[in-house]
Structures are given as C-alpha cells and as structure tokens.
Symmetry: C2
Subunit: 137 residues, 2 copies
Amino acid sequence: MHQKKEIINKLRSSNLRPTKQRILIAKKLFDRKETFHFTAETLNQVINKKGQSRISLATIYNTVEAFKKAGHIREILTNNSKSYYDTNIKSHHHFYDPETKKLTDIDYQEVVLNKIPNPPKGKKIKDLEVIISLQKK
Amino acid sequence: MHQKKEIINKLRSSNLRPTKQRILIAKKLFDRKETFHFTAETLNQVINKKGQSRISLATIYNTVEAFKKAGHIREILTNNSKSYYDTNIKSHHHFYDPETKKLTDIDYQEVVLNKIPNPPKGKKIKDLEVIISLQKK
DNA sequence: TCCTAGTTTATAATTATTCTAAACTAGTAA
DNA sequence: TTACTAGTTTAGAATAATTATAAACTAGGA
C-alpha cells in the first residue's frame, strides 16, 4: 500500500512539488492492486465523483503529462482518438479488443521473442511492445 | 504498376463506386514501390499540391475510412493525436521514432515469436503487431 | 511571516475529425 | 439519349480531445 509519505517521496524524487492535487491523483492511480488503464476522462471521473473534492480538468491533464514524463505511468499505443495510460510501467504487452476498446495486460513472460531486427544506425531500442488485437470467435 | 483498370476493379470489388476522387486517391496511395505511411493531413498535401485538381478534406477523410473498412489500408497503432495509416496491409511490424514521429516497416520475418498467450475465452486473435520504439544511442 | 517560483484554475484557443444537408454524378433503365 | 436515383462530394458547422493563457493561489525556504 502506498502511504502518503511514500507518495510524497515519489513526487519529490521526480522534482514534482507534492501539492494536494498531485497527492490525491497519485493515490487514486497507484494505490490499487491491479494495474489501471485510463484516459484523462476516466481519471477525471474517478477523481471528481459527486461530492468529492474538485480538481480541474486542466490539472488532470497537467498531472498525467508530468507523471508520464517522470516515468510513473506510460502511454499505451492504440488507434483511438483519446490517449490511454497505464500505471504498469514494467515492460509488458496488451490484448486490445476493438469492440469494447478495452486493453488487458499480458505478462512480459507470456510473450517470447527469439528474433528481433537491429535498430537503424544511431538508434537503440527503447521499448518493445506487442499488441494482440482480438475479434469474436 | 497499377493501371487505371486495376484500380477501378479494386474499388468495384469492395463496393466502392469508382469516382474520379477515389481513383485519384487510390493512384496516389497504391501506385508506388515503397509502402506509404500517412495521415489525413499528409495525404491531403499529396493530393492537393499547388495547381492540382482539388479534392475536399471531407472526401479525403471519407475515402481513407472507406479504404480502411475495405481492407485496402490499415490503421497503425501509435500514441499520436493523429491517425496513421499504412498501405502495407500484410501483417508486419514497425519501428517508431518518437523524436521524428516517423514509422518504418519491419518485415514480418524479421520478428519471430515463439510464445504468445491464449486469447480470452470467446475471442480469437485478429492481428499481432510489434512496435519497437527507438531512442538516440 | 514574507517571498517567489511553481502550480492550479477557468476559460479560450487549437487541432483532428465527424456531421450536415445541399449539390453533383455514376450507372441503370426507359 | 435522356431521365432517374442512390451514392458521393462538398463547404462549412459542430464536436471532441487536448493545449495555451494568464490570473490567483500555495509550498516551502529565507
């Protein structure tokens, strides 16, 4: 479980001043058992449900961007109009169901590659992601 | 090389009336040696360069969508705000350079997987795509 | 307690895309 | 050949997601 102190340290360590907005968002994102796949919209819903302390949408966007830059979340590749993020920052893969637009994690060890191409000159591989699109059987 | 007749057949075969706009767009997309990675914007630039016959942006969008549905092009997974399409419809993979936002094809046989997970019940695998993100060495 | 750089906020602006509904056209039938 | 009609194109308006702006607020050090 993420204590408040841990969260503050996490923010401080990445040069993010621990404001009450960032702490609250970090709690909602990181204090859960399962990884969380979200968009700015869904995060906004989680944060600003009825009668809850209000955080502006601009701050939601700013914070998601800041967390992404800091490496606390990662952006997922999709062909959606919205940006999807993932609290699981370990290298891993996804099932994508175009019907429901839902992503599911695939554990890293569930996919084994035994041949990958050399990167173009001057470049190195930063990340390798496998997306398995699904359809009805 | 794609003759006009071939293009017309391709359109007819997918129930798309071969209008002069669609024929022109199809020529620009398919009559080339290398695969073409494009967005609505870049396609619009190619089609509507100075002094050229004009096709409205709405038609560019409509046609891209129609070609995608017909399976003549495929949409690429990215984390960009724009939709990217690929004239290479054979299953294949991509290098992605976040700096230049450029995609490069990786031949299917350049990547070998020897373990992939079972799809969730009721679903089958429609497509498997590997995206290798690059960074400066 | 004061100060200031960093942060939050409401709102406007921007960007990519989709919608609308009027005008046009390919292809069929008379 | 002409007329018809369903499908298509078009300009422009509308929408959706995101980013920019600039004024108000605040964390944390002096």
